[in-house]
Amino acid sequence: MTRAEITRLVTGDREADGVVPATGFSALMVGFSSAAMAFLAVAAICLGLAAARLADRWSTEFAHAATVRISGPSAELDARVSAALELLEATPGIVSARALTEGEQRALLTPWLGEGIPFDALPVPRLIEVIESAAGPDRDSLRQRLAGEVPGAIYDDHSRWRRPLLRAAGGMQMLAVVAVTLVVLLMAVMVMLAARSSLAANQSVILTLRLIGAGDAFIMRAFVRRFTLRALAGGLAGTVLALIVLFALPGAGREDAFITGLTPTGWGWLMMPLVPFTAAFAAFWSTRWATRYALRQVL
């Protein structure tokens, strides 16, 4: 592609523009396909980004949290909690340690046991919430010291349940990447097919132009710019519509964060302009290829 061709594509081509009919079903088809596929591509990208954010949250928010569970006779529990707190505060790699209040523990258990349960009568263990530093403590050594100095104390760094969750999040991310790739490829193919079909509908225009002395380059310019701009306009419309729909999704609290987090954030926004340009790029090359093929059919 020459520099002059790029310039004409961007700034317009007074002679070639307008030679191809601007209206009709075939004209609509390229724009509509491009808009529909851009809509799906944006939705897929936003879902992928949301899955990535979710996976990131799961891996970071719980990565440095741990719990010490202390069980034993009720009379000794307070003393054991104090001993455990002292030990934890003196341990390198522990940022903070805080015993959950009775109210907090009750709130944790109520969803499982229901209201009105005689909480005091149950052998409920006491919990200490621990925040680790980025490097974290030497967990094996800490477990041994807790077992030796605080009977009934168990250090739980959540790795047992966090690991499958992270695996699931990783799987979701991978699925999202595959989905985005497929949708973008499908968008390119759909725009290509629409451009080719539209070109076939304009075969008589190609023939007429050729017979009155138009060169191949002129005919290609006339079709390529028109179809590229249609695909770009359709892609822009689809992208904007998808973003409006995503923004219009009902917001909710933290438990619905996955849904409310569907709109792109940060660098995710940079991917949005790529969608209509991908559609335009697909239309550009497919129209060039299809026009060249159509021209080969006539002398």
């Binding site: 002679e15 017979l211 009155i212 021209l295």
Partner: protein, 225 residues
């Protein structure tokens, strides 16, 4: 200008045309006649390089056709004006835009030929219809517009395929007069028609050679038309 030496054409299932030996000399006027399906349109397609002979030799403006690449064909075709029976306009463009199309595809800005365009439309009597779309034109207007489009690029050769086929006698005569005027300006004219009355009317006004297609061969017809 265009010459054939033992040329023939076949779509692969028997020859459509064979043994063509003739040349269209500069400034000459030819009628090509013969029954429907005899190969008149095929011969015209050979002349405007939409087909290449499948045998023999053909020269277009001195160049062997088989040696012309697509660019060469484009250049040669710019020296040929074509009037099709169905006119082949772009229906979304106005008559003025359609007539100016052969210059537009050369990249010439409209300002550079707008006066020629007005003169040409006046010559064919369509100066009032410039902004009309092709579907809004009558058969006669379409044929005259097609003739204007064929000559705007000042071609050396004008080919017309049944230009009066769908027209009444008076309009047919009008088209014929325009073609004769072009010939007097030095253009080579080849008109394919099965209308013998048109040929008789022309022969009283211009020195025309009549070519008759019979059984795939092109013969020079005698005076008994």
């Amino acid at each position: 200008m265009i010459s054939f030496q033992k040329a023939g054409f076949s779509y692969g299932i028997g020859p459509i045309l064979e043994g063509i030996d003739l040349s269209l000399a500069p400034g000459s006027f030819h009628f090509l006649t013969g029954p429907s399906g005899s190969g008149k349109t095929t011969f015209l397609k050979l002349c405007y390089l939409a087909l290449r002979p499948s045998e023999g030799r053909m020269l277009a403006f001195g160049a062997p056709v088989e040696e012309l690449d697509r660019e060469g064909i484009t250049r040669a075709r710019r020296r040929i004006g074509i009037v099709h029976q169905d006119c082949q306009f772009l229906d979304h463009l106005t008559l003025v835009e359609n007539v100016g199309l052969p210059l537009r595809v050369l990249g010439r800005p409209e300002e550079s030929y707008v006066d020629d365009l007005a003169d040409l439309l006046s010559w064919v009597g369509l100066e009032e219809r410039g902004e009309a779309l092709p579907p809004e034109l009558s058969g006669g207007e379409r044929q005259r517009a097609a003739l204007a489009r064929a000559v705007i690029g000042s071609p050396d050769l004008v080919l017309a395929d049944e230009p009066t086929g769908n027209l009444d006698w008076e309009m047919g005569q009008r088209i014929l007069r325009l073609l004769i005027e072009l010939n007097r300006l030095g253009k080579t004219i080849l008109v394919a028609t099965h209308d013998l009355n048109l040929i008789r009317a022309a022969k009283s006004q211009v020195e025309a050679r009549v070519l008759r297609i019979s059984r795939g061969r092109i013969l020079t017809a005698g005076a008994a038309l």
